[in-house]
C-alpha cells in the first residue's frame, strides 16, 4: 500500500524530471559522467542514494522492481530500499530476475541474461574511474575531455611489472563505446563482460558525488587490458555447494572454527532457480591450503584438524 504522505516515489515531479533530463544526456553520451542536482534522500550517502534517485525518477505503476545487494535480495540494505519503493510507490516487487522490469543493484550484475525490456540501475560510490590516481575532479574532467587515459594504462602496466597481474579485482575500468573511460561501479571484474552489448539499458547513479552515467543497450564495453596480458575474469576451483553451478560468481563463507569454507552462488535468485530445477551441489565445505606453506606447516594443520 502506498504511503500517501509523500509524492509517488518520494521525489517531487520537478526533481524527477530534472534527473530524467540528465539521464537522457547520459544515454546520448555513453560512459560520460553527467553532473546532476543530487538531492538528500532518506538514505545515507554511500548507501545507494544515486541508484535510488534514478529508480525514483523512472519507476512507473506498471514496473516490477527487484533490488539486490551483493547479488542477493535479502541483504538488509536491499530489503530497506525495496521496502522504501514498495511504500512510496505501491509497485510490485520481486526477487526473480526474469520477472523484473527494473533492477536496482549494488556490486553485482545478475547471472541470468537481461533483456531489452529491462533496466539495470547501479549504485555507484565513486563514479570517477581515475579517482585513486588523480583525486581532483577538476583535473579528471579535463582528462576525459581529451581522452587522456595514459595514467590508467600506466597504472595497470605497473601492476603487471610489480605483481605479475593487474591488481584490480573489482571496479575494473572499462572503455565505453571506445570513447569514455568508465567505472563499472564496484562489481567484480567477473561481471564486466556482461556489460558489453547488453540488450538492457544500464544506468549508473552516484548520489554523493552528484554524477549520472549510462550504457545504452547494445553498446560496446571493453575492459582495459594489454595484448600480452588479456583481461580475464575470476575462476574458482569449486562449484556452488548448493546448486552445483560452475559458471556463477561465488561467495565464500567460513563455516567452522577450523576455517572450512563453503562456496555458494552470490546471485541468490539464480541459485534458487537452479535448485528448483533439480540441480544439486556437493553440500560440502572445503578446506583451503596456504599455497606458500612449507610441508612442516601442512602437517601441523592436518594434525590440528584431526584433533
Amino acid at each position: 500500500m502506498m504511503d500517501q504522505n509523500y509524492n509517488f516515489a518520494f521525489l517531487d515531479e520537478r526533481t524527477k524530471k530534472r534527473i530524467r533530463r540528465a539521464l537522457l544526456k547520459a544515454v546520448a553520451v555513453p560512459g560520460y559522467q553527467v553532473p546532476f542536482g543530487s538531492r538528500e534522500m532518506p538514505f545515507a550517502y554511500g548507501w545507494g542514494t544515486g541508484g535510488v534517485q534514478i529508480t525514483a525518477s523512472i519507476i512507473g505503476l506498471s514496473d516490477v522492481l527487484k533490488v539486490i545487494d551483493q547479488g542477493a535480495d535479502d541483504t538488509t540494505n536491499a530489503v530497506n530500499i525495496r521496502r522504501f519503493f514498495a511504500r512510496t510507490t505501491g509497485v510490485a516487487t520481486t526477487g526473480k530476475t526474469r520477472e523484473a522490469t527494473l533492477i536496482q543493484t549494488r556490486h553485482r550484475i545478475p547471472e541470468v541474461a537481461l533483456t531489452e525490456a529491462q533496466i539495470l540501475v547501479y549504485q555507484v560510490p565513486m563514479p570517477e574511474p581515475m579517482s585513486r590516481l588523480e583525486p581532483s575532479r577538476r583535473e579528471t574532467i579535463k582528462m576525459h575531455a581529451l581522452s587522456e587515459y595514459g595514467l590508467m594504462h600506466v597504472r595497470l602496466y605497473e601492476d603487471i611489472a610489480q605483481l605479475g597481474a593487474i591488481s584490480r579485482a573489482y571496479d575494473y575500468p572499462v572503455m565505453v563505446n571506445e570513447r569514455y573511460l568508465m567505472s563499472p561501479s564496484p562489481i567484480p571484474k567477473f561481471d564486466n563482460p556482461k556489460m558489453h552489448m547488453n540488450p538492457a539499458l544500464q544506468l549508473f547513479g552516484a548520489g554523493r558525488e552528484k554524477r549520472l552515467y549510462a550504457i545504452p543497450p547494445y553498446t560496446a564495453v571493453r575492459s582495459l587490458d594489454f595484448e600480452d596480458h588479456p583481461f580475464e575474469v575470476q575462476r574458482w576451483d569449486h562449484a556452488c555447494a548448493l546448486c552445483g553451478a560452475t559458471e556463477s560468481y561465488l561467495d565464500e563463507m567460513i563455516v567452522d572454527d577450523a576455517g572450512s569454507r563453503l562456496f555458494v552462488c552470490s546471485d541468490s535468485d539464480y541459485c534458487e532457480e537452479r535448485r528448483d530445477a533439480g540441480q544439486v551441489g556437493t553440500q560440502q565445505a572445503v578446506t583451503l591450503h596456504d599455497a606458500l606453506a612449507t610441508p612442516a606447516d601442512a602437517i601441523t594443520t592436518s594434525e590440528q584438524e584431526a584433533a
Binding site: D12, A44, Y45, N80, D171, R211, E252
Partner: protein
C-alpha cells in the same frame, strides 16, 4: 546442509524497536519534550539548523530528539526532510547592519559605533562545572554563575542600524570590498552540483552548511602556518535580522520573518602589489543562531580559499577549494565513511581470489628458482 541466512526484513524491524528503546532510555525518567530541547539545548538546535540548511527550530529540536542527541544524525534527518520542500523563491540579501543585537564584539577596535555588547557567551565563565544544575526539578534553583534576576532571558536590543566595522574601514579604503564577478545571480548549491572552480558565493554556501569540526580544524591549520592568514576578528555579531522577499505579484519587498544569525568578519593582512595599494582583506562567516566558533572558523577558511583571487601561492590544504569543499559536508562524509558497514563480500571475494592466485604464482616462482 547449509541454509542461506534470510530474514533481513525481520532484523530491520527489530532494529527499529531497539533504537526506540535506546532513544527513550529509562522510562521511569520523564520524557524530554521537543519544546524543552528547543529552549534548553538551543545551541544544538542552532547547529542542526545551520548544517541541516533549514531554519526551523521546532523541526531541528524534533530531529535531535529522534536522533538521541546525535547531531550529525539530526542534521541528516533535517536535510532529508528539507529536500522534499518546494522552492518558493529567493529572498533579498540579508541586511545584517539592521539587526536586533544579542551580542556584538570587535577585537580590532576598543570602541565602535553601536558599542560592544558582550551578551551571552561562555568565554568568561571559568568553565567550572555548575553543580547547582544537578539539583534539577526545582524551579527556584538558580545558577550562582548567573546571579541576575533575568537569568535565562536572552538579552535582546530592539532592531536598529548598527554599522558594520568592515563598511567603516572600507570607506577609508583600508579594506578591500569584494565585488560580484559578474551580474549573474548567485548559483544554488542545493539545486546544482558544486563544480570547480567554484565562485565565492558557492564556496560560502558550502561552508555555511559545512561541518563545524571540519571548518574548525581547517581554520585552525591556517593559524598554524598552513597558509598565512594573520587574522583579526574585525567583528562578530549575533542577533535577529529580517528576511525580505519580493513576490512577483507585488514587485516590492515584504518582510516574511526574522532569523537569528551569527556573522563574523575577519580582517586579514594583505601587503598589496604594484597594481593594488596596501589594504586589508576579509574573510566571512555566517550561520544560523548562536554559532560563534563555526562562523569564525568559516571566515578563516573563506579567506584562505581566496588565494587565487588575491594572487597568493596555494601551499596549504585549507587553500585548496576542491579539497576543503568536497569534504566539508558531514551528511556526505558520514554516509560514505559508514557505508563501509554495508556488505562488501563480493568485492572482498574478488580480492581473495586475486591474492590466492598471486600466492600460487609466487609459490611456483620459488619452486622454479630452487
Amino acid at each position: 546442509m547449509y541454509v542461506a541466512v534470510k530474514g533481513g526484513a525481520a532484523a530491520i524491524e527489530s532494529s527499529w524497536r531497539l533504537l526506540e528503546t535506546q532513544r527513550r532510555g529509562d522510562t521511569a525518567i520523564t520524557e524530554l519534550s521537543v519544546a524543552q530541547i528547543r529552549e534548553q539545548l538551543s545551541l544544538a538546535v542552532d547547529r542542526v539548523m545551520s548544517e541541516g540548511s533549514l531554519y526551523d527550530p521546532e523541526l531541528a529540536a524534533l530531529a535531535i530528539k529522534q536522533a538521541s542527541g546525535d547531531l550529525m544524525e539530526a542534521i541528516f534527518l533535517l536535510r532529508a526532510y528539507r529536500t522534499t520542500l518546494p522552492r518558493l523563491g529567493y529572498s533579498e540579501p540579508l541586511d545584517t547592519a539592521r539587526i536586533a543585537l544579542v551580542r556584538r564584539i570587535s577585537a580590532a577596535f576598543k570602541e565602535v559605533p553601536g558599542g560592544q555588547l558582550l551578551g551571552p557567551t561562555y568565554d568568561y565563565t571559568q568553565r567550572l562545572l555548575d553543580f547547582a544544575l544537578l539539583a534539577e526539578g526545582d524551579g527556584a534553583a538558580t545558577s550562582p554563575l548567573v546571579p541576575t534576576e533575568e537569568a535565562g532571558a536572552v538579552p535582546e536590543t530592539p532592531s536598529a542600524t548598527v554599522p558594520r566595522i568592515n563598511d567603516l574601514l572600507a570607506r577609508e579604503g583600508l579594506l578591500e570590498t569584494p565585488q560580484p564577478v559578474d551580474a549573474a545571480p548567485p548559483g544554488d548549491l542545493t539545486r546544482d552540483p558544486l563544480m570547480f572552480p567554484a565562485d565565492r558565493a558557492l564556496r560560502l554556501q558550502a561552508l555555511a552548511r559545512g561541518d563545524e569540526g571540519w571548518l574548525l580544524a581547517m581554520g585552525y591549520s591556517t593559524q598554524r602556518g598552513y597558509a598565512n592568514s594573520h587574522p583579526f576578528a574585525g567583528e562578530i555579531r549575533r542577533g535577529f535580522v529580517s528576511v525580505e522577499l519580493v513576490p512577483d505579484e507585488l514587485g516590492f519587498a515584504i518582510d516574511i520573518g526574522d532569523l537569528e544569525v551569527t556573522e563574523c568578519q575577519m580582517i586579514n593582512q594583505f601587503g598589496g602589489s604594484r597594481e593594488v595599494p596596501p589594504q586589508f582583506t576579509q574573510g566571512y562567516g555566517l550561520a544560523f543562531g548562536g554559532a560563534e566558533r563555526k562562523t569564525m572558523a568559516m571566515a578563516l577558511v573563506d579567506r584562505a580559499l581566496r588565494a587565487d583571487e588575491l594572487g597568493e601561492p596555494r601551499v596549504a590544504p585549507a587553500q585548496d577549494e576542491e579539497f576543503v569543499l568536497s569534504h566539508a559536508d558531514n551528511v556526505e562524509a558520514s554516509g560514505f565513511v559508514q557505508h563501509l558497514k554495508l556488505p562488501h563480500y563480493v568485492d572482498f571475494q574478488a580480492e581473495l581470489e586475486l591474492v590466492r592466485k598471486l600466492r600460487v604464482a609466487h609459490a611456483a616462482a620459488i619452486k622454479e628458482a630452487a
